[in-house]
């Protein structure tokens, strides 16, 4: 078995049957992290105890314990998710010394399923960014072309997975932060339906949009990860009571008769020709497999990006208020505190602790929530959001899955858009509406640009119908001619 490319099932089966020890696997990937991280900057913290944790797993197996479907699978975890005893910084200076005394529910469930946590993955600061350039820990490089961004905000997860520094990664998606970097790095990235995954212990960016999910190398691995992390959590009242389906068992590449929607609004505008070609090829492939295509319309998507930035920034302005230097995290040097005015204390700590993009969004959100502006911005955005969701639900009456591009172009160059926030924000044009409507969405690789950068397609389903999109993705994965392509840094 080639450990580097092994699937989750292969690893778990080998570890559980003692053919390969979890220790051996952890050691193998630990060495890859040590070797490749200087080139990519994907990891912010490497878990020095990973091999030891794997050993403990081996001992339990030796005692006859059946560990679980992810036994010994090494994972990297985005910095947004709290990991007990491991730094959790959200990619920000303001949390640079924060080590949580608790695991996020996602991490606790992964560990329970047998996952070995190899370390923490770089990201845009507080998940605010689309290129991983806003991280306090520096940019992450795209393993396919190190001049390019890996996407964001889960850029570290994407780069680490593409270069196979780990077998699996977790990202978070507030407006596309799983799907866009997965698209830029040739991965399967899934944002489950809002409410599927507990947000407990995940640093909040925009509470009504945030959702964690897998960024992995195959649809089946994605389904297995989702089965491990999804489901009701008493610590998060927004999680659904619905049972977690057996997505991996139910995977089927048979899309005959499946109704796939093409959204009118997403099929116009300036799309990169390689992206267009990939989408066209996917449509063609699925048609040949017997899928039916229908045109659907969600006119409100026109406003998705502005609505997203109003909602997300508003919630963020409140969510990030707790980082004040009082209880934990960064506190600015101020000499004798008795001589410092409270407002100066906050101003200096937050001024130094947060990066530019985070401050920009805090200010935007604070403004939107201010009295006199609330109705015009936050409230109005909420109304548009509800209309958008209703239009989506209407569209899903005539189709099972909506297929679209993930982004307008493949990965762009580092530094290319960092000084142009508006162009950067437009990167999220196809991804934000999924979050606003609470729908499940995913990105699956299906093409390659002329420059050799991966391109995927986005699939969206109606609430709690992840199986539909997973099946379409599974069909595309099976028919893909870019499968097995390896990035430049590997």
């Amino acid at each position: 078995m080639d450990l580097t490319l092994a699937s989750f099932s292969e690893i778990a089966e080998a570890v559980q049957s003692k053919k390969v020890s979890a220790k051996e696997i952890a050691t193998h990937f630990h060495a890859r992290i040590e070797k490749l991280n200087p080139k990519l900057n994907a990891f912010t913290f490497i878990n020095g105890n990973a091999v030891h944790d794997a050993e403990a797993l081996d001992k339990r197996i030796a005692q006859g314990e059946n560990i679980g479907p992810l036994a010994g699978v090494p994972f990297g975890i985005k910095e947004m998710l709290c990991t007990k005893g491991l730094p959790t910084t959200a990619g920000s200076k303001i949390l640079q010394n924060f080590v949580p005394p608790y695991d996020s529910t996602v991490v606790a469930r992964l560990k329970k399923s047998g996952v070995v946590v190899m370390g923490k993955l770089n990201q845009d600061e507080f998940a605010m960014g689309s290129s991983n350039e806003t991280s306090f820990f520096g940019s992450v490089k795209n393993p396919w072309n190190t001049d390019c961004v890996p996407g964001g905000s889960s850029g570290g997860s994407a780069a680490a997975q593409a270069a196979r520094m780990v077998a699996g990664t977790i990202g978070t998606d507030t407006g596309g932060s799983i799907r866009q970097p997965a698209n830029f790095c040739g991965l399967v990235g899934v944002k489950p339906t809002y409410g599927r995954v507990s947000r407990y212990g995940i640093i909040a960016y925009a509470s009504s949009l945030d959702q964690a999910g897998p960024m992995v190398s195959s649809v089946k691995d994605a389904a297995l990860t989702m089965e491990a992390i999804c489901g009701f959590d008493e610590h998060d009242v927004t999680t659904t009571q619905r049972k977690v389906p057996a997505w991996s068992k139910n995977l089927s590449a048979n899309v005959k008769g499946m109704r796939i929607g093409l959204m009118k609004e997403y099929m116009k505008g300036s799309i990169n020709s390689d992206v267009q070609a990939t989408v066209d090829k996917a449509i063609d492939t699925l048609k040949k497999m017997g899928a039916e295509f229908v045109e659907v319309s969600v006119p409100m998507t026109e406003f998705a990006v502005p609505v997203y930035y109003l909602v997300a920034a508003s919630e963020a302005s409140s969510n990030l208020a707790r980082y004040d230097g009082v209880k934990y995290g960064y506190r600015a040097e101020m000499g004798n505190l008795s001589a410092v005015d409270l407002e100066d204390f906050y101003g200096k700590t937050r001024g130094e602790g947060f990066g530019k993009e985070v401050k920009r969004r805090i200010m935007l959100g604070t403004y939107c929530l201010s009295s006199g502006y609330y109705d015009a911005y936050y409230n109005k955005a909420g109304q548009v959001r509800r209309m958008l969701m209703n239009q989506y639900l209407e569209a899903f009456k005539s189709c099972d899955v909506v297929l679209s591009p993930v982004t307008t172009s493949p990965a762009f160059k580092i530094g290319e858009r960092v000084y142009d926030p508006l162009t950067m924000y437009l990167n999220d044009i196809y991804t934000t509406s999924t979050n606003l409507a609470g729908l499940p969405g995913m990105s699956v690789p299906f093409g390659m640009s002329q420059e050799g950068l991966p391109i995927g397609v986005q699939l969206t389903a109606t609430h709690f119908e992840e199986q539909h999109m997973l099946n379409v993705a599974y069909a595309l994965e099976g028919a893909s001619d870019v499968k097995g392509a390896k990035p430049h840094v590997f």
């Binding site: 949580p100 009242v237 409270l342």
Partner: protein
């Protein structure tokens, strides 16, 4: 200074600390005497990624209080974030309720100096408490034990017109929440905190004057004094042509005056918005009906019933119903004694005095209500005299024994046998020939009392005083 021509306009916000075992959004205990920061967890200190989960008891207590205050319970109420920075506010926002509070539009009616007064309750909303800062020279310590304690903020309309009304309003709310057992009503420990908004205006004026907030007054006596002081201060200022400054003031109980704590900044913008981490609180009609049916009889209707059905004077009815435990005790004792007024008297004088001396709550009284009731019935059927009853009562307090047992053990049964009493009387008369002579000659008046006392003493208080009187009068007839 003359206050004539002015009237005060007062509204009161009472923070009722709901006596749930755990905090409103996490499982931390709510014990008052915990060590600093002992009652905390990642959720209550606002660590990254933590989320609030509503304590259902807090909702239940809020609904019950709302119903008792005659409020409408909102079928769907919303938690909102109130955003502001302060070190003892762990998340940088307080979870509260804004435009959709759980309780609205109620009222309470009570009596002040015999006059009935109704005060409207604008709203009662749920929120979490903040921590406590202790400033000490060049540093500040923060204790987050209180952060996340459930509060119900009861907001009155601007209907109160005097300091006495304000204090009585406060007592009424306190009695109600204690009756409901949703708050211990302890002002010193902060379980009930009063903020009073006070302004004055010329009688007949439509516009309110500038209001001043008096914060955190920790007894209703001080509420009354603070408001009295504040009304006078404001009228004086207006009379002198000064402008009232909108500010927050505190009460100094040593100097008997209010003093300025801080000027109110121009209405701070709290940027309220619905908390996306919490679901709306949905209250069904069935739930409301169930809580409504479970509501205990409240102090004011109960007092009215005691007057109407038991014939108690208003004063007795009010004292007895002030505390639910006292009223319950009275009802149980009265059921046994069937003598309402006597039961009321014994509780309000003897029992309350003993309880106060021993610093005991009535529910911990060594004399159980049935025992007290039984004792009173033994007086009424002539088994013991009222005087002996005091001995029996004191023995019951000491030993907790039944009155019959004590009477039997100590031989305290009243002597009602006329011949036995006559025998004692004859002995007393024989022992005091000179006094008998004085009486009969009319040399001294009112000597009957002397003989009654002597006979009672000779009988160790057991002779029936009525019979003693009757026989003595006959024997001493001139």
């Amino acid at each position: 200074m003359s206050s004539s021509g002015y009237e005060a306009v007062i509204g009161i916000e009472i923070h009722v600390q709901l006596s749930t075992k755990s905090k409103i959004f996490c499982a931390d205990p709510t014990t008052f005497d915990a060590a600093d920061n002992q009652n905390t967890s990642p959720v209550s200190v606002g660590m990254p990624g933590t989320l609030p989960v509503i304590n259902k008891k807090a909702i239940e207590y809020s609904i019950k209080t709302g119903l008792a205050l005659g409020c409408t319970i909102r079928e769907k109420s919303i938690f909102a974030r109130k955003n502001y920075f302060y070190p003892d506010l762990p998340k940088g926002y307080q979870i509260s309720q804004y435009d959709k509070p759980i309780c609205e539009n109620g009222s309470v009616t009570f009596k002040v100096n015999g006059v009935e007064k109704t005060v409207s309750i604008t709203r009662a909303h749920m929120e979490e408490d903040a921590g406590k800062s202790t400033h000490s020279g060049d540093y500040t310590l923060i204790n987050y034990n209180r952060a996340g304690i459930p509060l119900l903020e009861v907001v009155s309309g601007p209907d109160i017109r005097s300091a006495a009304e304000a204090a009585e309003y406060g007592r009424t709310i306190r009695n109600i929440v204690r009756y409901l057992d949703v708050c211990d009503g302890n002002l010193e420990e902060g379980s009930l905190r009063c903020d009073c908004n006070v302004s004055v205006r010329k009688i007949g004026a439509e516009k309110f004057g500038t209001k001043v907030e008096i914060k955190n007054v920790n007894s209703f006596r001080f509420v009354e004094k603070a408001i009295e002081y504040e009304i006078d201060r404001q009228i004086d200022a207006v009379e002198r042509g000064e402008k009232i400054i909108q500010e927050t003031r505190l009460w100094d109980p040593d100097k008997n005056r209010t003093f300025s704590m801080r000027a109110k900044e121009d209405a701070q913008d709290y940027r309220y918005f619905p908390d996306p981490d919490l679901l709306p609180i949905v209250v069904s009609k069935e739930m409301i009906n169930r809580f409504m049916a479970d509501l205990p009889e409240l102090p004011i209707p109960r007092a009215k019933r005691f007057q109407a059905e038991h014939g108690l004077p208003e004063y007795d009815a009010q004292v007895l119903t002030g505390e639910k435990d006292v009223a319950d005790y009275y009802e149980e004792a009265a059921k046994e004694s069937k003598n309402y007024k006597a039961t009321s008297n014994w509780i309000m004088t003897e029992l309350i005095r003993e309880l106060n001396d021993a610093k005991k709550e009535i529910k911990d009284s060594p004399i159980k209500p049935q025992q007290l009731g039984k004792m009173i019935s033994l007086i009424d059927n002539g088994t013991i005299s009222g005087k002996i009853a005091k001995t029996v009562f004191s023995e019951m307090w000491q030993s907790g024994k039944d009155p019959e047992t004590i009477i039997k053990e100590k031989g305290l049964v009243q002597i009602t046998d006329s011949s036995a009493i006559e025998k004692i009387i004859d002995e007393v008369l024989a022992a005091n020939p000179q006094v008998v002579e004085d009486h009969k000659s009319g040399k001294k008046k009112n000597l009957l009392g002397f003989f009654v006392g002597a006979v009672m003493k000779a009988s160790k208080g057991q002779a029936n005083p009525d019979i003693v009187n009757k026989i003595l009068q006959e024997k001493l007839k001139v």
